[in-house]
Subunit: 536 residues, 2 copies
């Protein structure tokens, strides 16, 4: 059986994430050996070349079988936390005492660079808090980063920090050849069900290379023909480049019938489940295939000019609550500003260690981690629609994650309130000025700034429909009038005329004394004042 994300069985696959470029060639090689059609021998040969399926950093939209886009450091471990959250949440909602249809692990490999990035500490603190027992992280402790030995900038005790974060920590001292140790560590990690596990695997970078092992020169550049030869000799590997010996092929091909048997087993289990739990099965299928329920958009509220003026952050909350009722994969939360961003789903409790079936996610003050976790949730299953929230100005804290949403086609909804100077007393550090312009410049982002209730509802309709583009909604703290002429349909067009002001100049001027012309065209102080008064 070959990988096919449209086949419901694959929804329950274990997820493997290689954080940053970490072992990118390894990832491609494993996909190839495991029988993924997406990576052929030719693809391996065109590593890092134009048009290849094997770019320098794995991209989920380029290479089937690559789960997430993890190029920038720290994103991968954060995505993995999102994937593990999604599993825990869906398992809690859909598993039945007689049928565990959601039950998979999330594995991630991360290196020293990822460990140094603040985002990794944010998300690992959350993973410990949430008790994500099916998250297993391998920390490739090789002591080398691009600038050399980690002694120059990274001498903390990672073990102790992770124990502080509430993780189970295992140390594999010989990561180069200690296969039994590694197997035992995985077994131990699986036995610990209430905590995520960090397996610190001490390794030698460039293991086997006689002259370049344990040095930064193998970090981001090729060994070179001469050193490759020396390494082959050293490791006793006599085969041609890219040749996979028959016994290796045979070893790996065992997985194909094994996988087929597992698939048949799961399909039978799911067929049984579908009979007993019709509604849940239909919901779960829609989460697995991304099909939105018929008529979902009718749940969105509409307004008339007579509806009371309101802040778009409040109108947004009405939309969020309306959507959560009709979209089974809708979940999210705020970075410690839920009561300011107005993002609580009133009919649900908090997603927590012991209540993972709930849909309000409490991210704490961790904007960057929040965005990247949402990328992981969105890419777990196409029907999961995560939203996350903070003040609009703090998109600066999470911009790298937002860019990955755009690049990796993760339809995260960013609910960004307290737009502009309307924020008030918190002052200039909290007031977004340049942020709209900066996001309009970012490819594949929907930057939406609704003017009232209908436009807020329209913005949500656009955001939910665009499952391969993230949306940013800039929302106000202050009250805004409900305008005549706004509509959901109008917002969907991208631009539309709310009020016809076409009596501004639309001809090529006229010949007369200047004062007279200004007056004739209505450009007088009195006219400007009158127009301004009309608006206020």
């Amino acid at each position: 059986m070959r990988y096919n994300p449209k086949n419901p069985y694959w929804f329950n696959r274990d997820r493997f994430v290689l954080s940053a470029g970490h072992g990118c060639m390894l990832q491609y090689a494993l996909l190839h050996l495991a029988g993924y059609d997406s990576v052929q021998e030719e693809d391996l040969k065109s590593f890092r070349q134009w048009g290849s399926k094997t770019p320098g950093h794995p991209e989920n939209f380029e290479t089937p079988g690559v789960e997430v886009t993890t190029g920038p450091l720290g994103q991968g471990i954060a995505n993995a936390v999102g994937l593990a959250l999604a599993e825990k949440h869906l398992a809690a909602r859909y598993n039945k005492p007689d049928s565990e249809i959601v039950d998979h692990y999330t594995y991630v490999i991360l290196g020293d660079g990822c460990q140094m990035e603040g985002i990794s500490n944010e998300v690992c603190s959350l993973a410990g808090h949430w008790g994500l027992g099916k998250l297993i992280a391998f920390y490739d402790d090789n002591h080398i980063s691009i600038d050399g030995d980690t002694e120059i900038a990274f001498t903390e005790s990672v073990d102790k920090r992770f124990e502080g974060l509430g993780w189970h920590v295992i140390w594999v001292k010989n990561g180069n050849t200690g296969y039994d140790e590694i197997r035992a560590a995985i077994k131990e990690a699986k036995a610990v069900t209430d905590k995520p596990t960090l397996i610190k695997v001490t390794t030698t970078i460039g293991f086997g290379s006689p002259n370049k092992a344990n040095s930064y020169s193998v970090h981001g550049s090729a060994l070179g023909a001469k050193e490759v030869d020396a390494t082959r000799k050293n490791l006793g590997w006599p085969f041609e480049p890219f040749h996979v010996p028959e016994d290796v092929k045979k070893h790996w091909s065992r997985h194909v019938p094994k996988g087929s048997a597992l698939e048949a087993e799961w399909n039978a289990k799911f067929a049984e489940y579908e009979k007993k739990y019709k509604e849940e099965a239909a919901e779960l299928k829609s989460i697995a295939n991304g099909e939105l329920p018929v008529g979902w958009e009718k749940a969105l509220p509409t307004y008339t000019p007579e509806s009371p003026a309101d802040a778009t952050r409040n109108l947004s909350q009405q939309c969020l609550n309306a959507l959560a009722k009709v979209l089974p994969g809708f979940l999210g939360g705020s970075a410690d500003l839920a009561s300011s961003n107005m993002t609580l789903l009133k009919m649900f409790g908090d997603f927590q260690k012991d209540t993972p079936e709930e849909r309000n996610v409490r991210f704490g003050v961790r904007e960057h981690g929040m965005g990247a976790i949402c990328n992981g949730i969105a890419l777990h299953s196409p029907g999961l629609i995560p939203y996350c929230a903070t003040f609009f100005v703090f998109t600066d804290y999470m911009r790298a994650a937002i860019r990955i949403s755009a690049l990796s086609e993760a339809g995260v909804i960013y609910v960004m309130t307290h737009d502009s100077i309307g924020l008030g007393e918190d002052g200039p550090t909290h007031q977004p000025i340049e942020h709209i312009a900066s996001f309009r410049a970012m490819p594949n982002i929907l930057m939406l700034r609704p003017a009232d209730g209908n436009e807020t509802a329209g913005a949500y309709k656009v955001a939910v429909l665009n499952r391969k583009r993230p949306s940013i909604l800039a929302l106000s703290r202050q009250k805004l009038k409900q305008l005549p002429g706004t509509s959901i349909e109008g917002v969907e067009k991208g631009g539309y005329i709310i009020s016809d002001n076409s009596s501004g100049i639309d001809r090529f001027g006229a010949s007369a004394p200047a004062g007279k012309i200004y007056k004739e065209f209505g450009l007088t102080a009195e006219a400007v004042i009158a127009a301004a008064k009309e608006l206020s």
Copy 2:
């Protein structure tokens, strides 16, 4: 004696940083009591109001005595690490066995929100690595953030994490009234000279308020008149609002003569130092007052069209090395990409725990922390000119710190290499597309993209001269030709004509068959090809 940053004595003052809005009113009240002219009783009364010196988050450019702008969470602790780095560096360079003229502490208060932010883990890992023994951080452990009890999102062991980061950790269990415990903790912290200290102070938020203490409702909003009354009664405080009783005034005013004595003592010590170590004293004074050495700009390299083509990242390294020779306060480094960003100063070693006199700072893969640490360095003394480097695309990781540079007038130089698709194999996650446009939209930023050697030198001249505006230099990985007509002076103008292409259309068209017009105006395929060939 009153605070006067132009008086050299104040260069050696202890630095106090209140991270985020943390205790902002406390900070203003302390400045007022300590006799800072900048905060009068009237200023306290106009807290969070238009035009006041007491905005909702303290801003260094609004209120003399406020060291740094720390509104967004996590920035303050990062700034404090920069301030402590600056002290350790300057002490190592300028202190003599017979005269310790640089010798001060950096204190910072941070709360649960700052602890959750990834940036704080980044900088605290570095502070531990660098052994910043004169950095003392008070962690206000009050268990309340905006969304409520920290139980909902923050249950890690902060103590254990900080021990892992190489800090000395002390727990003050009664932070509300345990003054002796706090005094003892500070004494203990000062005795530990090879590690920074975290004093975890367990407190009750809103202590004294009978109905609102220990709840999120005192986090960001006023108690209200009724509860203020109840709190006054509860604490036995009978005085009018804003009234400072005589005995309190007297207690605080003790510091004025004490400070004068300390100042006289330091001035005498410095006068002695100046006699013995003339050159060092002159350098240190220029660091304290920000005066650039006469003729420093002559050190910048210049090029002719015959000079070899080169990547602007390499040309930048020539400038960095030239400037480090003539600017005593010039120091910086990269986030683990020194050999790619080309930022090493060849005549200096690494700033490390045991070699703090050196000027190459190794930030590790911690872009956000790096930017905020540089803000702290820049705001320690006007003559310190920090630069920091990563790939241009990773400004996304540090954008919040860059914005604070711009807002708080910290003239940090951001050396951002691997501009645009010219980066190559690392792929789209590493290629900046929208970044120039996004920074052009940010107020008070100098966004510079030099085209060759002369323009790179010009960009550095502009960056060094602008001590109250941060500069971002976007630099290439690929070789660029040295162009005729470029110059340092040209760059200083902001825009200038390198090559006169004014034979493009500069009239209102003409009447003739269209093909003929295109030909006459030189817009033919042949002409375009010829022009393109000339450029390539």
